[in-house]
């Protein structure tokens, strides 16, 4: 009894309900949804590991990717000294796989960034203005969706030549469509919200409304579109490099390595297996991570 009353006496009076009512940031709920998704967490960890390996490549590999240091051991199978074996030109294959991640990831991220740069303004304009602008942009998107991306990319790469810059531009050319559609949908949903009308009623110009209200409110679909554009760009790069119009040797690219690997596949399986696995794991983890992010940021968005 006495203990209880002393506990009551010593309890601090509630001076403000502000802290108790501290509203939780929407990001908090997104984070909660994200960490509940095991596939997303697992793929996120694997992806971070791959990114870390790509960044730290010179520190974790024994030689440089183009050094033909092991010519006497060429086509050697995986061993303790060469984890993934040695390729046909006497280069440590593990080194080349790790450096290949640099190409794949950087093309994925840069192309996705360009996709956002193209898709975000077009989506915002289509969603906000509707009418003719929307019609025109939707027809352009339809043209892009009826052309098989790999064939068109192959043609463009053959015409413009491969190389990092061109591959990025080609991947962005096909990646912006998804970003544009996501942003357009979000902007259309928000365009008739009361706060947009209130802002217009107080003299906000269309550009002000788009840049200060609609685009900041479209940030989750933009993030989702960005992450979903990454694996697409990586696949496209691998495809083009496989077909010989992408990244030129000696720069290591997984697609290019698979192409060389299939020549030796029946006897020296490791040359095809490791780049294929690297590509598959990276694309799979980015896709799963992107899906998890989409579900976390926008639970209403499915598909």
């Amino acid at each position: 009894m006495t203990q209880e009353s002393s506990a009551i006496k010593s309890a601090k009076p509630i001076e403000s309900i502000d802290n108790m009512l501290a509203p939780r940031n929407p990001m908090y709920y997104a984070w909660r949804r994200f960490i509940a998704n095991r596939a997303a967490i697992a793929s996120g960890s694997v992806l971070s590991l791959i990114i870390l390996m790509a960044i730290l490549a010179p520190l974790i590999t024994p030689t440089s990717y183009e050094e033909q240091k092991f010519l006497t051991e060429n086509l050697a199978f995986p061993s303790a000294s060469h984890w993934f074996g040695v390729d046909d030109l006497g280069r440590d294959f593990y080194t080349r796989i790790v450096y290949g991640a640099r190409i794949s990831l950087s093309i994925g991220f840069v192309a996705a960034a360009f996709s956002v740069v193209i898709g975000l303004p077009l989506g915002a304009v289509a969603g906000y203005y509707g009418g003719t602008a929307d019609w025109l942009i939707m027809r352009i998107i339809e043209i892009f969706s009826v052309v098989p991306p790999l064939l068109a990319a192959l043609l463009l790469a053959a015409l413009a030549g491969g190389g990092f810059g061109n591959i990025v531009l080609i991947a962005a050319l096909f990646g912006w469509v998804q970003v544009c559609l996501l942003v357009r949908g979000q902007v259309m949903a928000f365009r008739n919200r009361e706060f947009i009308r209130a802002s217009q009623a107080l003299g906000a110009s269309p550009l002000f409304v788009i840049f200060r209200h609609l685009i900041p409110n479209s940030i989750s679909p933009v993030i989702v579109g960005f992450v979903q554009a990454i694996p697409l760009a990586m696949m496209l790069e691998a495809g083009l490099s496989f077909l010989g119009v992408g990244i030129a040797p000696p720069t290591p690219s997984w697609g290019q390595m698979i192409n060389i690997g299939i020549n030796f596949m029946f006897f020296y399986w490791h040359l095809a297996l490791f780049p294929t696995m690297a590509l598959a794991v990276t694309v799979l983890t980015t896709t799963l991570f992107g899906d998890g992010l989409r579900d976390a940021l926008d639970p209403t968005l499915k598909g």
């Binding site: 009361e194 706060f195 209130a198 802002s199 217009q200 009623a201 107080l202 003299g203 002000f208 409110n217």
Partner: protein, 321 residues
């Protein structure tokens, strides 16, 4: 010169079932410093009229036609986007029904009010923020400094509506249009907000238009009342006269359907039927299918708004001089 001058305004919307005529020939004016109440049921075209005046209706879907659509002498019907942006906010601004959705959820109240001030004047960020603080104090918000830093979801509906009014007044408009400003609020807060709006109107000398479906809201707030039905003006008059001696049968029916003080003592009189389908409005007087006095003439010919005495007009065949 009149501040608002609308002559024969017609607004229609393209719909997949046909054309919806939301406003069918509205004529009204408002002088400086005057307050006007617009009353009508849902779908009577009361909000659309003023959204059209502010040119806030999306162009391809909505068609606006009028003989005259002027605000303080400047034509709004053919104004371009630039001119409209300049007029909105500085000459006329609007307060909306639901304060919870009238602010962008991503930014603080202070940010949004100071942004509005900055788009219209050449004030710096700091000065604009100080001005925003002053405005919040003016709308009787107790802790303006705290509210400046808060996000919309952290405030109550009443507080947000006050903040919305502060934002609407930030550029000292000459006309404030309040579209159902109290509908989404608590009954106890409703009276406070209305009082605040009338006080501010008297203080600044601006003109005021309150759009509502609630006669009680405007009874003590505005000088004149416009009754709308089916996209048309049914009656215009001084508030007192409208309440004491309604001319149009629709106005009469509206007043009879207010519960009032003697609620429980008498049976509430409702208006039979429902408001007309805007896709296929009734011929003649829009109210005739529900009107007790209607005859063949009401069904075939639409009555025009005719004046009865000073400041008074009504559209009804049954009202005699």
């Amino acid at each position: 010169m009149q501040l608002v001058d609308i002559k024969d305004l017609r607004v229609s919307f393209r719909h997949h079932d046909g054309v919806v005529s939301a406003v069918r020939g509205v004529t009204l004016g408002l002088s400086k410093g005057e307050s006007l109440g617009i009353v009508g049921e849902s779908g009577s075209g009361k909000s659309v009229t003023f959204l059209a005046l502010m040119r806030l209706l999306q162009a391809p879907a909505a068609t606006i036609e009028a003989d005259k659509l002027e605000l303080d002498g400047s034509d709004l019907l053919n104004a371009d986007a630039k001119a409209l942006s300049d007029i909105r906010g500085s000459l006329v601004s609007m307060v909306f029904q639901d304060p919870m959705t009238s602010f962008d959820p991503l930014f603080t109240i202070g940010y949004q009010i100071s942004e509005t001030i900055q788009t219209h004047g050449n004030t710096g960020k700091k000065a604009a923020l100080a001005q925003a603080r002053e405005l919040l104090a003016k709308v009787e918000i107790k802790h303006p400094d705290r509210v400046l830093k808060q996000y919309p979801h952290q405030l109550s509906g009443g507080m947000l509506q006050r903040a919305m009014i502060a934002m609407a007044l930030s550029c000292e408009p000459r006309l404030l249009i309040a579209d159902e400003p109290t509908t989404a609020l608590d009954v106890t807060v409703q009276a406070q907000i209305l009082q605040l709006i009338t006080d501010l109107q008297q203080e600044t000398g601006m003109s005021l238009i309150i759009i509502t479906h609630d006669l009680g809201v405007i009874a003590e707030t505005v000088d004149r009342v416009v009754v709308m039905y089916g996209g048309k003006v049914m009656e215009i008059g001084d508030t007192r006269e409208i309440f004491e001696d309604p001319l149009n049968p629709y106005t009469k029916a509206l007043i009879e359907s207010i519960p009032g003080r003697e609620a429980g003592k008498r049976k509430l009189i409702e208006i039979p039927g429902s408001s007309p389908n805007a896709l296929s409005p009734p011929s003649g007087c829009p109210f005739h299918p529900r009107c007790k006095l209607a005859d063949d003439k009401c069904a075939s010919d639409a009555p025009n708004l005719s004046t009865f005495g000073k400041n008074r007009s009504a559209a009804c065949w049954k009202v005699v001089q």
